[in-house]
Amino acid sequence: MSVKKKLGIILFPAYDWEISKTHPERKERLLYTQDQIFEEGLGDFENIVFYNPKIASEKALKRVHFIHPKLENIVTKSHLIAAGGAIKCLDLVMRKEVNKAFSITRPPGHHAMRVTYGDRGFCILNNEAIMIEAIRQKYGNLKVAIIDTDCHHGDGTENIYYNDPNTLFISLHQDGRTLYPGTGFLDDLGGPGAYGYNINIPLPPKTGEEGFLMVLEHLILPILADFEPDLIINSAGQDNHYSDPLTMMNFSAHGYAKLTDKLNPDVAVLEGGYSIEGALPYINLGIILALAGLDYSNVVEPDFESEKVSQSVEVTNYLKKLMEEIHYNWKNKEKLALKKFQNKSYITEEKNIYYDTSNISEKQTITYKKCDYCSGLIKITSKNNRNDKILAITIPLDACRECEKEGENLYHNSAKGDYDNIYLQNRIKDQYLKR
């Protein structure tokens, strides 16, 4: 059992916001979690402090997203509060007001990519990315590891940090061949500026508690030890639970607590999880106790049976092989990058992105500039089936003079042509332009 830590919690169930009357991301979603937290009397613990969220500023969103065509039409107050809650959590930690923080807000955010036209997988704003960039703006370009333990691939976070060597993104999810969003494979290791820093761990369906904890201990923790991050962020999705209606995994509340305890993140941010009566109250309780350094050994779902979190020998063997391969990629990332990007100065990728909630199909061409002095300029051209067409340029926080200049020229001198707008994200100047 670890020592007691001061934990800040933002619990904001947004009881007056919903996507639609019967959508799973619903008003009721955190109701039973709140009941459990209240009944356990967590608000009376000296080392647990609850806070109200704040509302994220427009600038905070623009550090991460190109929101098109209009922010007001896409982003609701609830999204701004979920992002703002996350920012406040990390800020509390940075200011040392608390040791750790947990943002329990809705809606989630890890499917939201750099370009945002609408709602994907219940997400519009990437709460974690907005949080991290807000903090980097204030405290410098910190080294951050994001561990996404939602059952769905964190494709939005992957997209945003694909070329950032200062952000290690590890997504632990049910194999994309069997679940939305259908991505998150081993070979997607990152852009030329950060190859190897995007790590997907696609778990087979029916992975049990043993599997999750094995992957954590024998793969994730050693990689984190190598990376030596300033901050560890947990995208704490709770849909690996055996009772989740949308997924096929065998994880438990106690398992989540143990995972949290071992991962020891600075901030956890709630993502998905839709077994709102049978799982969320217990998982959230387990995560809270683990973060606060309190005894979570008695956090057990009333319907828990050990068979519900067991896994087959096949799954165990599959995982062992998977871990070996991922570990090899991590250890040999420089070599692999050299091979993959040799003799190329620009790397272009095509991407088809589907917004399931808003029903939008997007086609993206992303061009990464391979640069010896920084992670490199990023250029995105994107169009969708609503006839939106944009050019979006990102000058990253670590950009060299050359890349910054090239990005600015590209923004000012590209022909407007048939683009609706041309966007520039200049992270160095903290300047966000549109023409």
């Binding site: 019967t22 959508h23 799973p24 008003k27 009944e39 608000g43 209606p245 309190l294």
Partner: protein, 557 residues
């Protein structure tokens, strides 16, 4: 006529009100440890030459429950506790025999696992062996389903004399507080019962037959007989008497800051548009966080009798009170002495005050006048600091809805109402420090007894409806019923208000002087696989707290 009595730390005040006018009042110093004796002698002298038939109600604010807890005069009790999954047993420790049983009721109110028969047999034996006759039974989520607590009550009712049930403490969710509240309630029941029996016999002897009520921490009253079940509700009735009295004397409708500067403590209260604020969870006593509904108050160890002393070459006020002020024949220099000194007038024991003051001023290289001013300023700044802290807590209260977060309603006191012996001496200083008008109502010396006299029965109920499970509950009344799938929020509200009215009348409320209100209503669509599977409703209703209508005639000068 209404008789109001307030027992403080050092004095007991009582008065009689007729048509809003104070017709008689008595103040007595408390000489005995026996609360009953004190109350009896006070009332005896108050009702001399009064036509007893004209006394319609007696409201008592006593320290009996508070002192029992503070002075550890607790009965030998046992607790039966069902924690289920969640926090470990380590968190449930009190100075009483505690039996943990297996089983669980979940947040939905479903008994997911029952306790074991053998566990019950063991407890029965142990109770007998240890000769324990007072029991508290508490289960997690018993406010969602009290069946475990009720079953156990039936099992043990012949083995013990008193049983306290967790779900009757409050409708709120908070198991550790439910546990502590039940523990305290069971522990003071026997003592309270003795007090009740004594009072009843004595009043009968005096020929008093009118209803007897007791003041609660929420500023309301309940019949003394009802308090037998829940004596813990009468803890900290003093501050609530004080606030209700100040309300009666001031009648403000603004956001206000209220101060009661007493001998040992200064109590701080707040009004939002003239209405008192309540604590969000419940009152805390001697480190025990409870579910007892209470008016928002903060008690500072700072008052007229606070000791003035030197600590590390710095002058300090309190927190201790060792004796009354020098000017009243006490032994040590106090705040009151400083205030007398600053009037520049003559007063008893002046030379003694000057001598004590000089001892301090010499070592600080200050004049007596400067030091006296410094102490006064220090007193004011302590109050200011405490008030600001409370305001920041109040104004950062947690919200759960977007509309509430955006609205960000804050309390900003526009005026200040101050009572207590030193009130006048601090008026100017408080006005300068807070930059709002300070009002010192007349008759403030009887504020507490007046507050007790003018308090009305209060009660609050919570209701939960789950149409998916076809269940509804009002835990405070032990109502757990089936409803049909189409049960609506409108029906729920109507039912809750009906039950609230019944309960208020049972507690002695006057139908003509009663306002019921729904204070919370939420309805959630329950969704299962993209379909609505039911509705989850949460409601709260209360008797609107306030004063008897006689308070309109109270002379406010």
């Amino acid at each position: 006529m209404i008789l109001g009595l307030d027992m403080g730390g050092t004095n007991v005040d009582a008065l009689l009100i007729k048509d809003g006018k104070i017709v008689k009042k008595v103040t007595k110093e408390i000489e005995s440890d026996d609360a009953f004796k004190t109350i009896f002698t006070t009332i005896e002298s108050l009702i001399k030459a009064v036509d007893l038939k004209k006394i319609t109600t007696i409201n008592l604010s006593t320290t009996i429950a508070t002192n029992a807890i503070l002075l550890n005069k607790l009965a030998n009790i046992a607790l039966i506790v069902q924690t289920g999954p969640g926090l470990t047993k380590e968190y449930f420790k009190v100075a009483a025999k505690t039996f943990f049983i297996s089983g669980y009721t979940d947040h939905r109110g479903e008994v997911t696992k029952d306790y074991q028969k053998e566990e019950i047999e063991t407890i029965k034996k142990e109770l007998k062996k240890n000769n324990i006759t007072n029991l508290a039974i508490v289960s997690k989520f018993s406010t969602r389903n009290n069946s475990t607590e009720m079953n156990l009550k039936n099992i043990f009712k012949r083995d013990v004399e008193n049983i306290t049930l967790g779900h009757q403490m409050s409708g709120k969710l908070n198991f550790p507080r439910r546990f502590k509240t039940s523990y305290l309630n069971a522990s003071i029941k026997p003592l309270f019962k003795k007090f009740y029996d004594n009072i009843l016999t004595a009043f009968e002897g005096l020929g008093i037959t009118c209803p007897l009520n007791i003041l609660k921490a929420d500023g309301g009253i309940i019949p003394l007989k009802e308090a037998l079940k829940l004596p813990v509700e009468s803890i900290f009735s003093g501050p609530s008497a004080s606030l209700m009295g100040m309300l009666a004397l001031s009648k403000t409708k603004k956001d206000a800051l209220l101060l009661d500067i007493g001998g040992t403590t200064t109590d701080i209260f707040f009004l939002k548009k003239g209405e008192p604020l309540f604590l969000r969870a419940g009152i805390e006593i001697k480190g025990n966080k409870t579910l007892i509904r209470a008016l928002y108050s903060k008690s500072l160890p700072l008052g007229g009798d606070s000791l003035i002393k030197m600590v590390k070459n710095e002058v300090k006020i309190g927190p201790e009170r060792l004796d009354k002020a020098l000017v009243f024949g006490g032994k040590y220099l106090t705040v009151t002495d400083i205030l007398f000194y600053l009037t520049k007038k003559t007063f008893p024991y002046r030379s003694l005050v000057v001598k004590e003051l000089a001892k301090l001023s010499v070592s600080l290289k200050l004049t007596n006048d400067d030091l006296a001013e410094l102490i006064k300023a220090k007193f004011l700044s302590k109050i200011k600091k405490a008030v600001n802290l409370e305001l920041s807590l109040i104004n950062n209260k947690l919200v759960y809805k977007i509309a509430e977060l955006l609205k960000g309603e804050t309390l900003v006191p526009e005026e200040m109402i101050v009572v207590g012996a030193p009130a006048r001496s601090f008026k100017k200083g408080l006005e300068e420090s807070f930059k709002i008008p300070v009002i010192i109502p007349p008759n403030y010396e009887v504020a507490n007894a007046l507050g007790a006299a003018l308090a009305k029965p209060t009660t609050a109920l919570s209701m939960l409806v789950n149409t998916k499970r076809r269940k509804m509950s009002i835990p405070e009344l032990s109502i757990y019923r089936n409803v049909d799938f189409n049960y609506s929020l409108k029906e729920a509200k109507r039912y809750l208000l009906k039950e609230l009215l019944k309960e208020a009348l049972r507690l002695g409320a006057d139908k003509e002087d009663l306002e019921l209100e729904i204070i919370e209503e939420e309805q959630f669509n329950m969704v299962e696989g993209f379909y609505t599977s039911g509705k989850n409703m949460r409601l709260k209703a209360q008797v609107k707290p306030g004063l008897r209508k006689e308070s309109e005639f109270i002379n406010v000068g």
